[in-house]
């Protein structure tokens, strides 16, 4: 199910957090409310890690990742990198990329199987993405915008895109991503989807301005109503235990 909350009175929660099926990154805020909101939902399932990237709090937009790995921009400091490596589960590969477009969260939208990237991304970066995240990479635009990471929120079960996306585009993307897509808004009519929410396979977190209509759209497209965290994580645990001696 989807929950609504704020980061320091801002509804753009997707900017300050990154949620995947294996871990959750959270920015360091003035009060602990933000962190505890995530913790209450996810604590016993996946690790919730407080971090900063490149000394900033806008971690959601700077890094891109899924259950296989995490990509951080070149200006991440060594301490942050080390902290991330320590806190995250071992099978998550943390990789720093030398890429001119350093806001990786805005340039890459990915789930566990497929990723959409900014059209101007380097060839090497594309290879690294395919390698580290274990996904198939497609260069695409959404409703004419090249910042695919900002205008779409993706999970393994569905996706929400910019409201002005035409029907042909939706069909095309849907076939590429192999998930159902819907065009909609977040945070009371805002078009920047990924900034306003963050989602994984069983839960979603939205800005507090999100209306009931938008919330119902999100719950239906990401299939959150019947999702139980335990079912999904069980699969992961099995693989985890495998490596345990």
């Amino acid at each position: 199910m989807a929950t609504r909350f704020q980061f320091e009175n801002s509804c753009e929660v997707g900017v300050f957090s990154k949620l995947t099926n294996a871990y959750c990154l959270v920015a360091i805020g003035g009060s602990e409310n933000f962190y505890s909101a995530f913790e209450s939902e996810l604590a016993d399932v996946i690790p919730v890690v407080k971090t900063s990237i490149a000394g900033t709090r806008i971690i959601g937009r700077l890094c891109a990742g899924n259950k296989n790995g995490l990509l951080v921009p070149h200006n991440t400091t060594d301490q942050e990198l080390q902290h991330l490596r320590n806190s995250l589960p071992d099978q998550v590969v943390v990789q720093r990329i030398e890429e001119k477009l350093s806001a990786l969260g805005n340039c890459i939208a990915c789930n566990d199987h497929v990723a959409l990237t900014h059209t101007d991304l380097d060839k090497e970066t594309e290879e690294i993405i395919a390698d580290v995240l274990g996904v198939e990479v497609f260069r695409q635009t959404i409703a004419g915008n090249i910042l695919v990471g900002s205008y779409c929120a993706l999970s393994n079960r569905g996706g929400l895109v910019h409201p002005h996306t035409s029907i042909e585009d939706l069909d095309e993307l849907s076939t590429l991503l192999q998930v159902p897509l819907v065009a909609g808004t977040i945070n009371r009519g805002s078009e920047v989807i990924a900034a306003g929410m963050t989602v994984n396979d069983w839960t979603a977190f939205c800005g507090s301005d999100t209306t009931a209509t938008e919330l119902s759209v999100i719950e239906s497209v990401f299939k959150l109503r019947e999702a139980q965290p335990t079912a999904i994580v069980e699969e992961m645990r099995k693989s985890l235990i495998d490596s345990y001696v």
Binding site: I167, G189, A212, T213
Partner: protein, 506 residues
């Protein structure tokens, strides 16, 4: 190449309105119009009630600080005025449409529906209409207050006088004033014994009128002022200004005996001259030598002189014989021919006169003419006495007489008519002068018919009451002169005429 590129047709999908969930086309605000309207009110902060001042006397509205605009209910001017009152508000939004909503006139409320557009929420332009209510408060405007307080209140007056026994000049002046709208600002116009008085609310209007007079008649003026009140603190002085304008007593068709000085300065113009035209110059014609001279205003008033005989003293003559003596001369547009004529007065066929006249081109034996009877006149003129040894002609003919032809037309209305100024007639004048005034007016109208150049400066209007059929039956070649129909202006409707009168008084 670009035109051959395959472009995927893009169809816009629908999204759900973020508030109410109904399916709609995506827009910059991503809310359906109703939700957007309920969310944002672009008319917030705009005035919905305004007070305006209205003067019940002259039906005008105050535009602060001081202008009063006259406007009818539900008219374009009133709409412009109402929208202008909201100018500061309408700077924030864009006005698309404005119209009146009918309200009961006695309710003292005006309702205007305005449609405005404004940009809201990341680029969506919202259009909304709202109603502004104007409360009309009655407040008399300054000019009405002044009129109410003292209807005779004037600040400047112009007194025009001409010391002659007839009023022809003033009839002509009246028509000129009407044509040029010179008396538009006059509060009141009064008809006096030998002239007209005009009253103005403003000194500059009076000055303008005096200047206008100076251009159309040979005048001499002086001015005075009288202190009415004085504010010692602010040193404001209120005066009443009076302008006294005297028009020269020389009129058209007058016979004049020039004083020796004037005659000499004009090149020994024969002392007896006829005045042919009066504007701000006086045109003098010597009938015996056909010399024409102009005297302008200054020159006249330097040595002012009176006329010897005026149009009241014209006598009818019967022409028995005409002998043309000279070729046709063209003097300033009019033709004259000198001829010797054998004439006799209609009242006394016994005495025949052999005279020289300048009307040779007009007269034929059997015609009648009007002229001055110098043989029978007993002139008591100083100037005449100064000329020793001057032989006076026995008669001087001035114009052809159409009296017989006019007999046929007597009583029938003319095809044209003139407008008149609204004048107050002084009571004591009315006694016994009615006859004279009417005959004067009749003379004036005849003058207009006979002289196209007189008509030139005036506006004549078609007379609705005149039946055209009668005109056709009486058509000889030798008809009495009348105004050709092309010169007539289509008459104004009666209601418009009333409006026109209102416009003349402030």
């Amino acid at each position: 190449m670009a035109s051959n590129m395959f472009v995927v047709p893009q169809t816009r999908g629908t999204v759900l309105c973020c508030k109410c969930g109904i399916s709609m086309a995506p827009n910059p605000a991503n809310m359906c119009v109703t939700c957007l309207r309920s969310e944002v009110d672009i008319t917030e902060g705009l005035r919905k009630h305004v007070t305006i001042m209205h003067c019940p006397e002259c039906d005008s509205y105050l535009q602060p600080p001081r202008t009063w605009i006259k406007a009818q209910l539900e008219s374009k001017e009133l709409l412009t005025f109402c929208v202008k009152r909201l100018e500061t508000d309408l700077k924030k939004v864009r006005l698309v449409n404005a119209e009146f909503i009918w309200t009961e006139p006695h309710s003292k409320r005006l309702k205007v529906k305005l449609k405005v557009q404004k940009e809201v929420l990341n680029g969506a332009i919202l259009e909304q209409s709202y109603v502004v209510e104007y409360v009309q408060q009655d407040h008399m405007c300054e000019s009405c207050t002044r009129i109410q307080a003292n209807p005779d209140q004037w600040v400047a007056s112009v007194q025009i006088r001409q010391r002659v026994t007839h009023r022809r000049t003033f009839f002509y002046l009246e028509q000129l004033i009407l044509k040029h709208d010179a008396a538009v600002h006059a509060i009141k116009i009064k008809q006096m014994d030998q002239g007209i008085d005009l009253f103005f609310a403003n000194r500059s209007h009076a000055v303008k009128f005096v200047e206008f007079l100076g251009k159309v008649a040979p005048t001499r003026s002086r001015h005075d002022k009288q202190l009415v009140s004085h504010d010692s603190k602010s040193n404001n002085y209120n005066y009443k200004y009076t302008f006294s304008v005297e028009i020269s007593p020389i009129c058209r068709e007058d016979l004049i005996c020039l004083p020796p000085k004037v005659a000499a300065s004009l090149g020994n113009l024969g002392p007896l001259v006829i005045c042919t035209k009066v504007t701000n110059n006086i045109t003098l014609l010597d009938p015996l030598t056909l010399r024409q001279c102009f005297l302008d205003t200054e020159q006249y008033w330097r040595h002012s002189f009176k006329s010897l005989l005026g149009s009241r003293q014209l006598v009818e003559y019967d022409i028995f014989n005409i002998e043309v003596v000279s070729p046709e001369y063209n003097l300033g547009g009019s033709k004259y021919v000198i001829a010797d004529a054998e004439v006799a007065r209609v009242s006394d066929y016994g005495k025949l006169f052999y005279i020289r006249t300048h009307l040779g081109h007009l007269l034929k034996p059997g015609d009648r003419a009007l002229g001055y009877d110098l043989y029978g006149a007993n002139s008591n003129n100083i100037e005449l006495d100064k000329y020793k040894g001057l032989v006076l002609p026995e008669a001087i003919l001035i114009k052809k007489s159409y009296e017989e032809k006019r007999q046929k037309k007597r009583g029938k209305p003319r095809p044209w008519k003139l407008k008149s100024l609204e004048m107050e007639v002084d009571e004591f004048r009315g006694r016994g002068n009615e006859q004279k005034v009417e005959s004067d007016y009749e003379e004036f109208l005849r003058d207009l018919e006979e002289n196209p150049e007189l008509r030139f400066n005036l506006s004549l209007y078609r007379n609705r009451e005149y039946q055209l059929s009668e005109m056709v039956s009486v058509s000889d070649g030798d008809d009495a002169p009348s105004v050709p129909l092309e010169e007539l202006l289509a008459d104004l409707e009666l209601s418009e005429q009333e409006d026109g009168e209102d416009g003349m008084r402030e």
